[in-house]
C-alpha cells in the first residue's frame, strides 16, 4: 500500500512537471501550446545527442536541457505565436491560429526526433546510474527521489513566484487584461515570452527525468502525457499552478490505485471521465477562478 503511494507520488510529480508550463502559458498568454509535448521531448532528445558525443555529468545536463527547452519555446514564440498575434483580426481567430501553428511545430520537432532516434526507443547513455534504496521495507530509487524533489520544488517555487513576487503580480495583471497591464508600466510581451520560456525549461527538465526514469524515450513519448496534462489543467483550473498540481497528484493516485487494486483497463477512462465531469459541473476547474481572473 505504502509502496503504491510512493509510485503515485512519483507519477504525480511527473504529471505536475509536465502540466505546469501548459497551464501557465494558457493562463497568462492565452496560448494552448500543443507543442508542449515537443518541448518535453526536446529535453530528452538534447540530452541523448549530447551524451552520445561527450560524457557530461548530470548536474551540468540538467541546466543544459532547461536551456534547450527554453530556447526552443522562445523560438516557437518568435516564429509563430508572436507574428500570429500581430496579424490576427480577433482574439478567437488568434487562439485558433496559435493552436494550429503549435500542432505544426509539434510535427516538425517530432519528425526531427524520429530521424535522430531512427524510430526506435533510445537510452540516454551513462548519465545517471539508477540506485535503489531500501527504507523500512520500501524501495525508492535516486531517480524517483529527484523527480519528486523537482516536481514539488518547482511547483511550489513557481506558485510562490506568481502569488508573491512583484513580477508574479505583473504576470497576473497580464493574465487579467493584456491591454491594460502595460498602462501600469508592465512589459506584457516580455512577460509572456518569459512565461513561455519558463514552461519550455520545466518541460525540458521533465522530459530528461522521464527518459531516465523509464530508461529510454522515443519520438512520441510526450504525447501520452498530453492527455494527462489536459486533465490536470482542466480539473485544476486553467492558469492555477497549485490547482493543476493538486489535480496531477490526484489523477496519479487514482490511476495507481486502479492499476494495483481495480480494473487496470479503466485507468485511461478515468482521465476522460474526469475531464467531462468537471466541464459539465464546474467548467472553471476545481480551484480555478472565472476566465477574467486567471493565473
Amino acid at each position: 500500500m505504502t509502496q503504491q503511494l510512493i509510485n503515485a507520488i512519483v507519477l504525480g510529480s511527473l504529471y505536475s512537471l509536465f502540466s505546469l508550463g501548459l497551464t501557465l502559458v494558457w493562463g497568462v498568454a492565452n496560448v494552448l501550446n500543443l507543442a508542449h509535448g515537443a518541448l518535453f521531448l526536446s529535453g530528452a532528445l538534447a540530452a541523448f545527442v549530447v551524451a552520445e558525443a561527450v560524457a557530461v555529468p548530470f548536474v551540468v545536463m540538467l541546466p543544459l536541457v532547461a536551456l534547450v527547452g527554453a530556447g526552443l519555446a522562445a523560438l516557437m514564440d518568435v516564429v509563430a505565436f508572436r507574428p500570429i498575434a500581430r496579424r490576427a483580426a480577433t482574439e478567437s481567430r488568434r487562439e485558433m491560429a496559435v493552436l494550429l501553428a503549435s500542432l505544426g511545430l509539434a510535427a516538425v520537432v517530432t519528425n526531427v526526433a524520429e530521424v535522430v532516434t531512427e524510430h526506435q526507443i533510445k537510452r540516454i547513455p551513462g548519465l545517471l546510474d539508477v540506485e535503489s534504496y531500501k527504507v523500512a521495507g520500501l524501495t525508492v530509487t535516486n531517480v524517483q527521489l529527484m523527480i519528486v524533489a523537482l516536481g514539488i520544488g518547482l511547483t511550489v517555487a513557481v506558485s510562490l513566484w506568481v502569488k508573491r513576487s512583484s513580477s508574479g503580480r505583473a504576470l497576473r495583471a497580464v493574465a487579467y487584461d493584456p491591454r491594460i497591464a502595460p498602462l501600469f508600466g508592465i512589459n506584457s510581451s516580455r512577460l509572456s515570452r518569459g512565461t513561455i520560456m519558463l514552461s519550455g525549461a520545466v518541460a525540458g527538465i521533465a522530459g530528461l527525468l522521464l527518459a531516465i526514469h523509464l530508461s529510454g524515450f522515443d519520438a512520441n513519448f510526450g504525447e501520452s502525457l498530453l492527455l494527462k496534462a489536459f486533465v490536470a489543467v482542466i480539473v485544476g483550473g486553467i492558469g492555477s499552478v497549485i490547482g493543476t498540481a493538486v489535480a496531477a497528484y490526484g489523477l496519479a493516485l487514482i490511476e495507481t490505485m486502479l492499476v494495483a487494486y481495480g480494473p487496470a483497463d479503466a485507468r485511461d477512462a478515468v482521465a476522460f471521465g474526469l475531464i467531462m465531469l468537471v466541464l459539465i459541473l464546474r467548467p472553471q476547474g476545481l480551484l480555478g477562478v472565472k476566465t477574467s481572473e486567471r493565473a
Binding site: 492565452n30 494552448l32 500542432l103 489543467v233 482542466i234 477512462a269 482521465a271 476522460f272
Partner: protein
C-alpha cells in the same frame, strides 16, 4: 490518361477518403465551433464498419451502422460540451479523440487491440467512392449557401449577434458537431472498407494533426479548401519521395507558414493573387462572395 488513373488509383482513393475527413473538421471550424470530434469518429466509423462487415452484414448496412453510431456519439459529446467554447472545447474534443484510441487499444476482444483489424472484405469500389465524394461536396456546397450557410457564418462571427437575429445557437452547434462527426465516420468507414485494414496507430494525435493541416493549408472557409488540402497533402509524399523521412517536418512547417502568412489557406492566397491581377469587367468573385 487511363494508365495514369490505374497507376495512381490508391493515391486517388486516399485523396477521396481524406477529403471527406478534412471536410468533417472544416464544417465545424467554419462555424466557429472549435470541435475536433471528427478525428475520433473517424476511428469509430472505421472500426464499426469493419466489425459489422466481419459479422456478415452487407456493406451498406455496415456503413449505416457506423454513421448512426458516430451521430449518437458526437451528439452526446456536443450536449456535454455545450457550455464550453474556444480553446477549452478544442482541448476536450482532442481528449475525446485520444480516448477513442485508448479504448480501441484496450478492447482487444472486439478490436484486435494494438494489432488492429485486417483482412476486412474490400467492399467499396473507386467508383462508389467517387460518387460519395461528389455527393458530399454537393451537399456541403448547398449548405454553405443559402439561409443555413449565412446562419453558420453568423455563428462564427458573433454568437450573441447570431442569437439576436434568431439563429438557434445551441441547436445549430449540436447540428454542426453531429454533421462533423458523421462525416468523420463516413471517411473512416470507407477507409476500412477500401484498404481492408485498420489499426489504433492511425488515429489519435497524429490524425488530428493530419486532418487539421489539410484544412488549414487548403483554406478553412469552404469545403473546397478541405478537398484541395487533402489532395495537396496526399500528393506531397509522392512528389517528395526522396524526402519521405521528412514528411512530418515538411507538412508541419507548411502548416506554420500558412497559419502565419496566409491564414486563408492556399485557396484564399490564390484569390488574393487574382485580385492583384489586372481587372476584367464585372465584379470579381471575391467581392461577390464577401458582400
Amino acid at each position: 490518361m487511363m494508365d495514369w488513373f490505374a497507376d495512381n488509383e490508391t493515391l486517388l482513393q486516399q485523396i477521396g477518403v481524406f477529403a471527406i475527413a478534412a471536410a468533417s473538421l472544416q464544417v465545424a471550424l467554419r462555424a466557429g465551433v472549435f470541435s475536433l470530434v471528427g478525428a475520433g469518429t473517424w476511428m469509430i466509423g472505421a472500426y464499426a464498419a469493419a466489425i459489422a462487415l466481419d459479422d456478415g452484414m452487407p456493406p451498406f448496412v455496415a456503413l449505416l451502422i457506423a454513421l448512426a453510431l458516430a451521430a449518437l456519439v458526437s451528439l452526446a459529446l456536443s450536449l456535454l460540451t455545450i457550455r464550453i467554447d474556444g480553446l477549452t472545447l478544442a482541448m476536450a474534443t482532442i481528449a475525446f479523440d485520444l480516448i477513442v484510441v485508448v479504448v480501441i487499444r484496450n478492447w482487444e476482444s472486439l478490436t484486435g487491440g494494438a494489432l488492429g483489424l485486417y483482412a476486412i472484405p474490400v467492399s467499396v469500389s473507386s467508383t462508389g467512392l467517387a460518387v460519395i465524394v461528389v455527393a458530399v461536396a454537393v451537399v456541403l456546397m448547398l449548405v454553405e449557401r443559402g439561409r443555413q450557410g449565412r446562419a453558420v457564418v453568423a455563428l462564427r462571427e458573433d454568437v450573441q449577434a447570431a442569437a439576436a437575429v434568431g439563429v438557434p445557437v445551441p441547436l445549430a452547434r449540436h447540428l454542426v458537431t453531429t454533421v462533423s462527426g458523421v462525416l468523420g465516420a463516413l471517411s473512416g468507414a470507407i477507409y476500412a472498407m477500401m484498404f481492408n485494414a485498420i489499426a489504433p496507430d492511425q488515429g489519435g494525435f497524429h490524425l488530428v494533426t493530419l486532418l487539421l493541416s489539410m484544412v488549414v493549408i487548403g483554406g478553412i472557409d469552404s469545403w473546397r479548401g478541405a478537398y484541395v488540402g487533402a489532395a495537396l497533402l496526399m500528393f506531397l509524399p509522392e512528389i517528395s519521395r526522396t524526402f519521405n523521412e521528412w514528411n512530418g517536418l515538411i507538412y508541419g512547417a507548411l502548416m506554420v507558414l500558412v497559419v502565419v502568412w496566409a491564414p486563408e489557406g492556399v485557396l484564399g492566397g490564390l484569390r488574393k493573387v487574382r485580385e492583384l491581377l489586372p481587372r476584367r469587367a464585372g465584379p470579381s468573385r471575391a467581392e461577390a462572395s464577401s458582400s
